[in-house]
Subunit: 79 residues, 2 copies
């Protein structure tokens, strides 16, 4: 079973990397960019009998390792 986990910074958390990308895009002449926030994506292959079991395992993975829940949100999409 394939799943995609997207980890993004919570609203209000400063994102200097995103700011740097925004500035770089402007210097490349790309117009109209008003904000960039960078996050991480994990494409995970899980062997589970059903989607609920897979989601539970991935939730545990996010809480323990993949996301810092103090400053980051995560979203799990089971394909």
């Amino acid at each position: 079973m394939k799943a995609r986990i997207i980890v993004t910074l919570k609203t209000g958390v400063l994102d200097p990397q995103g700011k740097a990308i925004e500035a770089a895009l402007k210097s490349f002449g790309i117009d109209g960019v008003e904000g960039v926030r960078q996050g991480k994506v994990f494409d995970v292959e899980v062997a589970s009998p059903d989607a609920a079991t897979a989601e539970a395992a991935l939730k545990s993975a996010c809480e323990k390792l993949l996301a810092n829940t103090v400053v980051e949100n995560y979203a799990i999409e089971i394909a």
Copy 2:
């Protein structure tokens, strides 16, 4: 206009970071994980009159800066 860009490694490109995450998940006792590939996500706020203009600007951003198209694929989702 909000857009999300997802940059992932092409199939066949080695992903040592993903392998390390997979090993770490196993050591945390999370069962059933058979593969992890890590990528990047960019949440971009674009000021554009329409979705087509926004998509063209973001495509240019991906080609010039956000993705290394030799080893990475990108996908643009306009919200």
